[in-house]
Amino acid sequence: MTETFILFTLAGTTYAVRTRDVQHMEMVEEVTPVPNASPFVEGVVFSRGQVVPVLNLRTRFGFERLAPDLRSRLLVVQSGGRTVGLLVDSAREFAGIAADAVKPPQDTLTGLNGRYLEGIAVLNDRIVLVLDLAAVIDVAEPLAQGAKETV
């Protein structure tokens, strides 16, 4: 079975989320910061009449935080009854990925990202990391940059 995914980039790496989880995508305009929120909550935006929290995926995955630019995108996703915006570097492609093309993340892939991945796929010689959306937006504690995870 092939599903459609939206591909986006983050610090040079390509990630994928299922289109059926993505409500819509927009350019990043002003994000209103929310004081005393978690460090990787960029703030809130208004999207289609709803107040949506914005998760900065860079900080979430332990990358350096950069100011959003013209290529940055906000992916408004839905998971577990919640609507959350994901702030990413760019997002332009759609791709169909067959279910059996997604391999589980190997043990050799250490680091924070391993925990948030459903699996890894290879598209035309490009490595695409398929996100486990629920894990990404399920925030327990902020993880410091570069920390190694013990599973």
Binding site: N36, V44, G49, V51, T83
Partner: protein, 642 residues
């Protein structure tokens, strides 16, 4: 949700929502009629119209419950119907125990239906059914005189109204039901007879006893009604006047509350668009011929008016009279009085006050709790009252009213008042800091709402749900309202709830802190001050400023939110929230203005931040956070600002 029922595939499953809604209407009518029956009994007579109404309601509920296969409700309704039939036919007189059983049974019936609605376990009704059977079978009761039927109309007051329907009128919405309702508003309908005349024409002949003078014939003509005054002869048989028409269900439409929420949201969008339009117009002034611009401004003003009317119209749709909730209280109080051995009279004022349905639902538990407290702890036992020179019967007063955009609900008792010293002692024992000296009402309220002080409530039946005073205040604050206390030892206590009528649109003050803009709901602010920064004093690690005859603790928003403060300003703007000893001043850099904002709440755990209640969009496209000043003030307290 509805319709996606468990897979029994029952035909009636698709009608469950209708069932619940219709039963709700019947139960409401039954409750109101029970109250009349009760009042009649107090006055020593039986109200036949009330009995009839309860009888019909139970009969309807029985039939409906049978159709949806809710056996417990069907059985209980059937027993009630039988009992009421004996009352109706005069086989039995009405007694106090009879009314008590009736009331208990109706409450149980409602519980059964609610259980089905909430998909909870259906309570066992065998006990209450037995009680109803017993009271129905019980021997002849002392005969209670029936309330005299309304006297035949005084001379000159009886009229005949003949209504002839036509297809054209039916299309307009004029039909025999609407005509009958209008007639009922004018007086009492003695009879209504349909007739087909010679030419096949249908006519309805109503005989009406008018309470006022003459009917305005000219007004009725276009609707096909002709009036004739009747001779003064009263009807041959002393017939009881026609029972009140069924609750005019035909005129009402059942609306899913979710759709009303959608409407409110769209109106919120409309308010924002309107604000944006106003901004654009302002900016355009220089570039457009004066006459054109003035015309545009006029249109905008008209639009403002329409949007305001529309908003009020939609809000009104969600309003229901508070009397429905109050009626329930009568039965609750009766139960509680029995439980605590007190004699209680409940006075209700402002039953017609209309409040948003959602607001009422959220507040119901809180008000119930206050009433329970009043009966359990506020009112003294009859003996104690008598010794104190008071009437043996205690009085609890429930008042509802609206003032502008605010609803006010009062719960008052004439009991013993709150013993401040005892509360203070208990608080100190629980480790809560209590200021020395006499406690003012606001501090007292703080103490009784503090967590951990509800030991007495835990001992009460049914308080296992943990509804303490703390929860009451939290519920009030959650909807943006305030709770105040007034108490007089030996004389009584009064809790006042002030609730914003609208959950979605509110007046707010816009302020800046550093480079951030925030909105503060007007309702939470009691005063706005301008203070000379030099007047701020340090007290341990807190700041205070002189205020009225005393001092006011100061909370700088810049510090609370970690926002860099603007360079030293000439004046500090301070919002005062709370009253008396609980007042706290919240300092901002600048107050920009006042605006009507649409409140968009958010609850996602990412952004559930203390002190932030939601967000709004100012007309110029900026998204601005809405502050919860109450929460901020208390946060300040927790850090020992006092």
């Amino acid at each position: 949700m509805p319709g996606a029922e468990r897979e029994t595939g029952r035909f009636s499953d698709a009608f469950l929502d209708d069932y619940f809604a219709e039963c709700d209407e019947h139960l409401r009518a039954i409750r109101a009629a029970s109250l009349r029956l009760d009042a009649g009994l107090d006055a020593g007579r039986l109200e036949p119209a009330a009995v009839e109404q309860i009888f019909r309601g139970c009969h309807s509920i029985k039939g409906l419950s049978g159709m949806v296969e809710l056996g417990e409700a069907e059985t209980l309704a059937h027993e009630l119907e039988s009992y009421l039939r004996t009352l109706h036919e005069g086989a039995h007189g009405i007694t106090r125990p009879g009314v008590d059983v009736l009331v208990d049974a109706v409450m149980e019936l409602e519980r059964v239906i609610v259980a089905r609605r909430d998909r909870a376990a259906i309570p066992d009704v065998s006990a209450i059914v037995a009680r109803v059977r017993a009271i129905a079978a019980g021997g002849a009761a002392p005969h209670v005189p029936t309330a005299a039927a309304a006297l035949p109309a005084a001379a000159g007051r009886r009229w005949q109204a003949v209504y002839v329907p036509t297809p054209a009128m039916l299309e307009r919405g004029v039909n025999v039901n609407s005509i009958r309702e209008r007639l009922q508003a004018l007086g009492t309908i003695e009879s209504a007879v349909p007739e087909v005349a010679e030419g096949g024409r249908l006519a309805f002949t109503f005989v009406v006893a008018l309470s006022d003078a003459e009917p305005a014939s000219a007004e009725w003509e276009p609707d096909g009604v002709t009036w004739t005054r009747l001779a003064n002869v009263p009807p041959a048989r002393a017939e009881a006047p026609e029972a009140p028409a069924p609750p005019a269900a035909a005129r009402f439409v059942r609306v899913d509350l979710a759709r009303l929420d959608d409407l409110m949201r769209i109106i919120g969008d409309l308010v924002v668009s309107r604000a944006r339009l106003a901004d654009s117009l302002e900016r355009m002034e220089r570039h457009v011929p004066a006459a054109e611009w003035r015309a545009a401004q006029e249109h905008r003003t008209a639009l403002d008016r329409h949007v305001r009317d529309l908003r009020q119209g939609v809000m009104r749709v969600r309003l229901i009279p508070v009397g429905d909730v109050f009626d329930r209280m009568v039965f609750v109080v009766r139960d509680l009085a029995r439980e605590y051995g007190k004699t209680v009279r409940l006075e209700l004022h402002g039953k017609a006050t209309e409040i948003d349905k959602l607001l009422i639902e959220r507040m119901m538990d809180a008000v119930l709790h206050l009433v329970r407290n009043a009966v359990a702890h506020g009112l003294e036992s009859p003996e104690v009252r008598q010794r104190a020179g008071k009437s043996r019967e205690g009085t609890i007063t429930l008042r509802a009213s609206t003032v502008g955009d605010t609803a006010l609900i009062d719960v008052e008792d004439d009991g013993q008042g709150i013993d401040a010293a005892a509360v203070a002692a208990r608080a100190r024992a629980a480790g809560v800091e209590v200021p020395d000296g006499a406690l003012d009402a606001d501090t007292l309220l703080e103490l009784i709402c503090a967590p951990g002080l509800s030991t007495r409530e835990r001992a009460d039946r049914g308080s296992g749900r943990g509804v303490g005073m703390g929860a009451v205040r939290a519920a009030v604050q959650e909807v943006g309202g305030t709770l105040t206390l007034e108490t007089d030892p030996g004389r009584g206590t009064r809790f006042a709830l002030q609730l914003p009528l609208t959950l979605a649109i509110t007046e707010a003050i816009i302020a800046t802190v550093g480079d951030r803009t925030f909105a503060i709901p007007q309702a939470g602010v009691s005063e706005v001050l301008e203070i000379d920064p030099a007047a701020v004093r340090q007290l341990e690690n807190n700041e205070i400023v002189p205020y009225r005859q005393g001092t006011l603790p100061l909370l700088r928003l810049s510090r609370v939110f970690g926002v860099p403060e603007a360079p030293r300003r000439a004046r500090l703007h301070v919002f005062v929230t709370g009253r008396g000893a609980a007042a706290v001043g919240i300092a901002v850099d600048r107050i920009v203005g006042q605006k009507e904002i649409v409140v968009r709440t958010f609850a996602d755990r990412f952004i559930k931040v203390h002190g932030v209640a939601g967000a709004t969009e100012l007309g110029d496209g900026r998204v601005v956070l809405i502050l919860d000043v109450n929460a901020l003030a208390h946060a300040g307290e927790m850090r020992g600002v006092r």
